[in-house]
Symmetry: C2
DNA sequence: CTGAAAGCGCTTACAG
DNA sequence: CTGAAAGCGCTTACAG
């Protein structure tokens, strides 16, 4: 067995007491240098800074906060890291908070729910909590009540409609109104809805938007759309989209336009149509949602909706930072972000 | 201006002192219940737990640690959240650490480098630090020295070859040996390398693997491969792949097999070849890297390499947890993970 | 510049 | 069960 090389006998410095002894100054003096207080000789300041560089000494954050320093910490509870839009929101928010000198405490929603996460945030004395994603509404509403009781700022990104919650969310309804208007403009009159039957609020809003868009053209959800979601399990979106396409093709009169919950389902559907010998958009138009990178990599490229994540999160960060340390206002702040329809090759004129 | 509704007059409980007063018990008693110490009446225990549920009181984590409780915190420094494999590694690690009752402190590498991140971790008295991704080697080596001096465990996921670092990394060399063997087996004798000219260690390892794979077939990097990376800027991988494909087609004798740095470049290349009227794999074979979801959504589906992220991160977590609180061993632990070649439709027999 | 003191919110003996 | 005390690592007046 090889012997460990002798450890360099570096006394580890763990406290200002240790460190003050090491530089040969009083604890008080070190503290004053660390906090940039006036009335110190430049020579002393330099001496301390040099010793910090050498030893890597960092004051214990736990003691600092206990003594009254702000934690400057924001808790971020993200529902999932498995979808690109969620990750992009998280990454953007973390960057913006860092630029404002806040530390992010990031937690992925655990199977045992949000209670544990929020309690952890509270024990870490965060100054605000952000929720990113789609949650169980009643549960999150409770968490937000709890935060309010503690006087802690909060914000929900992307889950509209939670009672009492400050919210920044995409106007999903509007997104679908525009998508349907685009397809109606191309002559489509019958629509397949792929994956939109979910009971989640976000899907509800999307259906409402489809209804509005259809109404504007004298059409209706009941008469002019078809959903076959119930025929297939949704294990994995791409395969789900392919399976749905096959089922639509098996109909006597398949809809000419397919509107999907997300880009993966849309691309799966395109793939399924192509496998069956059909062409997109010549025979069928297909639209997605989220404007993920992959929509530029397919043949045809994908018509989709961009969530405007950068703008969403910028608005969110601004609201959040303004809320911190301020007494809660009477009514929650609710901001909606306008989506951007990205028209590419997968939608075209309806077959005559 | 609307008046705020009167706030419910809930005295916010911020300390065990407040809380003890609220339940009508001594601070000491509350503390003993909180810490599950013996010799308390069940009735008292219940009273405290009920009050916790009602008030949402959480003891100040900063005071707890100061009093000697472990922080049970691990710092994770991730280079980027912009690539799916990095996110998957992060999410998996966070889950495994949580299952072992550790909190993750996640930081994305800031433009100003790793020093600030590690100092922050140190000030938070983390018990270990994990680096995920590709870094500037000398810089990370320094950070690791710093951590060792402080007696803090560390691990690098996916950046092999940092001196002195405990490392778990994919055997990228082996991955390329297998990829080349697969293509040679299909009759290919000339290879285009797409995006592999990067000076990063990971690309170096990949080139070494290509060389090994070629050598096994009596071929060589110098004579039988072609790289055109220098002809195009790499702003965005998909477009880069497309542009490279066009450049390869402009050659008098284009290679018959294209080996790409990642899936996006590979799919861009396939797209470029198809746009120019060629068929994959009938005219050209193309292989990617990372086994991202999108490789199943293209026509043809993509032959690629799976990083075995789950296994990688499981090994990493096991090593890390074993290291925590243990005196550093003589030599660093270096574990390599075997990749899995995923053969799909984008590779086929070489054109006669 | 130094040094002694108080106090942040907790836990942990210790004596009642 | 209670209550007073000490101490974790800091900062901040305060008197020298």
């Amino acid at each position: 067995m090889p012997r460990s090389p002798a450890q360099t006998p570096v006394r580890v410095i763990r406290s200002t007491t240790d460190f003050a002894r090491h530089v040969g100054l009083a604890r008080t003096t070190v503290s004053r240098v660390l906090n940039g207080q006036p009335g110190l000789k430049q020579k002393t300041i330099d001496r301390v800074h040099r010793a910090i560089a050498e030893t890597g000494f960092t004051p214990n954050a736990y003691a600092l906060h206990l003594k009254g320093k702000r934690t400057a910490t924001v808790g971020i509870c993200v529902e999932t890291l498995m979808t690109p839009p969620a990750v992009l929101k998280l990454a953007t928010l973390q960057r913006l908070l860092r630029e404002a000198d806040y530390t992010s405490l990031i937690e992925v929603l655990a199977p045992d729910g949000s209670q544990r996460v929020v309690r952890h945030f509270l024990s870490m004395r965060v100054e605000a909590v952000v929720f990113i994603g789609h949650f169980a509404e009643a549960e999150i509403a409770q968490r937000i009540e709890e935060l309010k009781r503690h006087g802690i700022a909060h914000l929900v990104i992307d889950h509209a409609g939670i009672p009492g919650a400050n919210t920044v969310a995409l106007d999903r309804r509007r997104a679908m109104v525009e998508t349907i208007a685009h397809l109606v403009g191309l002559g489509h009159r019958s629509f397949g809805l792929l994956g939109l039957s979910s009971p989640l609020r976000s899907a509800q809003d999307r259906r409402a938007g489809v209804a509005d868009g259809l109404a504007a053209a004298g059409l209706s959800l009941a008469h002019d759309t078809l959903s076959l979601d119930h025929l297939h399990p949704r294990h994995q979106d791409f395969a789900f989209g392919r399976a749905l396409a096959a089922s639509f093709l098996a109909q006597a009169h398949p809809p000419t336009a397919l509107v999907a919950l997300n880009d993966e389902i849309a691309i799966g559907a395109i793939n399924g149509l192509q496998q069956a010998g059909h062409r997109v958009p010549e025979h069928f138009s297909v639209s997605g949602f989220n404007n993920q990178d992959l929509g530029r990599m397919t043949v045809p490229t994908l018509t989709t909706v961009d969530q405007q994540i950068e703008r969403t999160v910028e608005a969110a960060a601004a609201i959040l930072l303004a809320q911190i340390g301020r007494p809660p206002r009477g009514r929650p702040i609710v901001r909606s972000v306008q989506p951007l329809l990205v028209v590419r090759e997968s939608t075209g004129p309806a077959r005559a």
